[in-house]
C-alpha cells in the first residue's frame, strides 16, 4: 500500500465503522440494562434491510430516479427500516426475554433463548424472502460528491456517515439529557434501587430495545444500499459489532462507538495489508488483543455510564 492510498481505505473504513458503531450500540444498550448479550440483534439488522426492500419495491422506483425521488426513497427507507427494527426488537424482548425474567431464569437460559430467536428470525426471513441474495432497487446513482486529497467520497459514504453520526448524537443526548435516559442509566447501575425511585423497570427495558432496534434496523437498510441482502446477512456484521461493543467496553455507549469505528477501519486496511482473505480475521484479532491487555475493553465496562 502506498502512502497516497491511505485515504482510499480510510474513507470506506470510516463508513463501515460508522455502521458497526450503530449496531454495537444496540448490543451495549441492552447489555447495560439487562446484562444480556442480545444475540438476536443481528436479525433486527436483517429485518431492517428486508423491510426497506419491501417498501422500496412497493414504491417501485424507476431505475434512474430523479433527485427528488431519491431523497424520498432514502427517507422512506430510513423510516421503514427504523420502525421495523424497533418493532422487531420490542417483540423480541416481550416474547424471548420477558417471560424468562418473570421466572428468574438463569443466565444460560437467556443466551439459549437469544440464539433460538436469532435462528427463528433468520429462517423465517429465508422462508418469506427466499434464500437467494437480493438487492435493493436503485435509490440513487452513487455519484462522487467531493474529493479529499484526490480520494473520491461518494453520496453513499456521505449518507451512511451522516446518518450514523446523527443517530449517535441523538442517542447521546437522549441518554444524558432526558428523563428516559436517566431511567436507563439508573436501571443499568442498580435496577432494584431504580424501582424504589419510581422507575418502571419493564418500561425502561422495553424502550431500550426499541431504541437499539431502531438504530439496528436503519443500519440494515444503509448496509443494503451497498451490499446484497440475504437471510444470513446479519451474522457477520452482527458478530463484528458485538466484538466492537466488547472492545470498547460492553455497557459503555461511547465505547461502542469507538470500538465500531476502530474495527471498521482495521477491517478496511487489513485487505490491502494482509490480503482480502484476512478481512474478517482482523476484527477478531483486534478483539483478542484488546481483551488480553484490557479485559474490560478500552473504555472499561462501566455500566450505565455513557462517558
Amino acid at each position: 500500500m502506498q502512502p497516497d492510498e491511505i485515504l482510499d481505505y480510510l474513507i470506506p473504513g470510516i463508513m463501515l465503522g460508522a455502521l458497526y458503531a450503530v449496531i454495537a450500540i444496540g448490543y451495549t444498550l441492552v447489555y447495560g440494562v439487562l446484562q444480556l448479550i442480545n444475540f438476536a440483534h443481528s436479525e433486527v439488522f436483517m429485518v431492517g434491510a428486508y423491510s426497506a426492500l419491501l417498501a422500496l419495491t412497493w414504491i417501485d422506483p424507476s431505475s434512474n430516479p430523479t433527485t427528488f425521488m431519491s431523497v424520498l426513497l432514502v427517507a422512506a427507507g430510513l423510516a421503514v427500516s427504523g420502525t421495523a427494527g424497533a418493532a422487531t426488537a420490542f417483540t423480541l424482548e416481550k416474547v424471548a426475554y420477558r417471560p424468562l425474567r418473570r421466572r428468574n431464569a438463569p443466565r444460560l437460559a437467556f443466551l439459549i433463548s437469544a440464539i433460538g430467536a436469532s435462528y427463528f428470525l433468520q429462517n423465517l426471513a429465508g422462508k418469506l424472502f427466499g434464500r437467494d441474495s437480493r438487492a435493493l432497487p436503485t435509490v440513487f446513482e452513487n455519484k462522487k460528491v467531493f474529493s479529499v486529497f484526490g480520494t473520491q467520497v461518494t453520496i453513499l459514504q456521505l449518507l451512511i456517515v451522516c446518518a450514523a453520526v446523527l443517530m449517535m448524537v441523538g442517542l447521546d443526548y437522549l441518554v444524558n439529557r432526558t428523563k428516559l435516559g436517566l431511567g436507563i442509566r439508573a436501571v443499568a447501575q442498580d435496577a432494584e434501587t431504580a424501582g424504589l425511585m419510581g422507575v418502571d423497570i419493564d418500561k425502561v427495558i422495553s424502550r431500550t430495545f426499541i431504541i437499539g432496534g431502531f438504530m439496528g434496523g436503519i443500519a440494515g437498510f444503509l448496509f443494503g444500499l451497498h451490499l446484497q441482502l440475504s437471510f444470513t446477512m446479519g451474522f457477520l456484521p452482527g458478530i463484528t459489532a458485538f466484538a466492537a461493543a466488547v472492545v470498547g467496553g460492553v455497557g459503555n455507549i461511547r465505547g461502542a462507538m469507538m470500538g465500531g469505528m476502530l474495527l471498521g477501519i482495521v477491517e478496511s486496511f487489513s485487505s490491502p495489508i494482509f490480503g482480502e482473505s484476512w478481512r474478517y480475521v482482523s476484527a477478531f484479532a483486534v478483539l483478542v488483543l484488546v481483551l488480553m491487555f484490557r479485559p474490560t475493553g478500552i473504555l472499561g465496562e462501566r455500566l450505565g455510564r455513557s462517558a
Binding site: K179, Q189, A194, G195, L196, G198
Partner: protein, 261 residues
C-alpha cells in the same frame, strides 16, 4: 382501648403512651401477620408492626432477624405469602415498588445503594423521578440538611465517602417528598461522629413532619432517637413498646445493648 395501649400491652407489658399520644394517634402503616419467604426459607413469621403519623419507630434486631425483609416488603420489592401491608387503611402488598414510592413511602436501602456513576445532583434527581420535574424547593431543603452534598453536587456518587453516600441516600429518598421514610441501617460502617450527625438530621427530618421507620443494629442510639421500638428475632416481633421503656428494660439491655443481665 387505644392502639397505643394495645401495642404496649404485648411483650413487655408496658402501658405508658407513646411520645405522640398527646395528639390523637393516626395510623399510617400497619403490617398485619406478615409471612415472607425467600424460596423455601421463611424470613418473616407473622410480623405485626404499626407506625403512626409523626413518629420515629425503631426496628431492632440482629443480622438475619428480618428487619431489611420487613422494609423490602413495605416497599413492594417482596410480596408476602400471607398477611397484609396497609397504608392509611388500604392494602398495598403486591403493589410494585415503582408505584409504592408514589404513595408517599420513601426508602433509603441497606448499603446506601447510590448510583455510583451519576453525580450527586443526578442521584437526587433520581429520587424525584416520580415527579414530572424536579421540585426545586425540595432540592434546596436537602442541600440545607446536608451542606456536604451541596459542596459535592457535581461529584460522582461512587467517589463519595461512606458518610456522604449515606447522606445522599437519605437526601435522595427525601426528594420523592415521602410521608413515611424507611431508613435501613443508616449507621452501617460509619464513624461514631458521623452517625451522631446523621441521627441528628433524622430527628430534624422528623420534626419537619416526615414519619420515620428506622432499622438499626445500633439499638441504644436508635432507641434514644425513636418514640417507639420493636425488636425482631428470627422473623418474629419479640418485644415492643415506647422507646424509653425499652431502653430501661433488662431484657433489651441484655440482648441488644450488650449488657450482662
Amino acid at each position: 382501648m387505644s392502639a397505643a395501649e394495645s401495642m404496649g400491652a404485648d411483650a413487655v407489658g408496658l402501658t405508658k403512651p407513646a411520645a405522640t399520644a398527646t395528639t390523637p394517634r393516626k395510623k399510617m402503616l400497619e403490617l398485619d401477620d406478615l409471612h415472607v419467604f425467600y424460596g423455601a426459607i421463611q424470613a418473616l413469621k407473622g410480623v405485626h408492626i404499626e407506625v403512626d403519623e409523626g413518629e420515629i419507630v425503631a426496628l431492632l434486631g440482629a443480622n438475619g432477624a428480618g428487619k431489611t425483609t420487613t422494609l423490602r416488603t413495605i416497599s413492594g420489592l417482596l410480596t408476602p405469602r400471607e398477611g397484609e401491608v396497609r397504608w392509611r387503611g388500604e392494602r398495598i402488598d403486591g403493589v410494585p415498588a415503582h408505584h409504592v414510592v408514589g404513595l408517599g413511602i420513601g426508602h433509603s436501602p441497606e448499603g446506601r445503594r447510590v448510583f455510583p456513576a451519576m453525580t450527586v445532583t443526578e442521584n437526587l434527581n433520581m429520587g424525584a423521578f416520580r415527579f414530572k420535574s424536579v421540585p426545586r424547593a425540595e432540592l434546596d431543603r436537602v442541600f440545607e440538611l446536608f451542606p456536604r452534598l451541596a459542596e459535592r453536587r457535581t461529584q460522582l456518587a461512587g467517589t463519595l465517602s461512606g458518610g456522604e453516600q449515606q447522606m445522599l441516600a437519605i437526601g435522595r429518598a427525601l426528594m420523592g417528598q415521602p410521608k413515611l421514610l424507611l431508613l435501613d441501617e443508616p449507621s452501617m460502617g460509619l464513624a461514631p461522629l458521623i452517625v451522631a450527625q446523621i441521627f441528628d438530621i433524622i430527628r430534624e427530618i422528623n420534626e419537619q413532619g416526615t414519619t420515620v421507620l428506622l432499622v438499626e443494629q445500633n439499638a441504644a442510639q436508635a432507641l434514644r432517637l425513636a418514640h417507639r421500638g420493636y425488636a425482631l428475632e428470627t422473623g418474629s416481633v419479640v418485644l415492643s413498646g415506647p422507646a424509653d421503656q425499652l431502653l430501661s428494660d433488662p431484657k433489651v439491655r441484655e440482648a441488644y445493648l450488650g449488657e450482662g443481665a
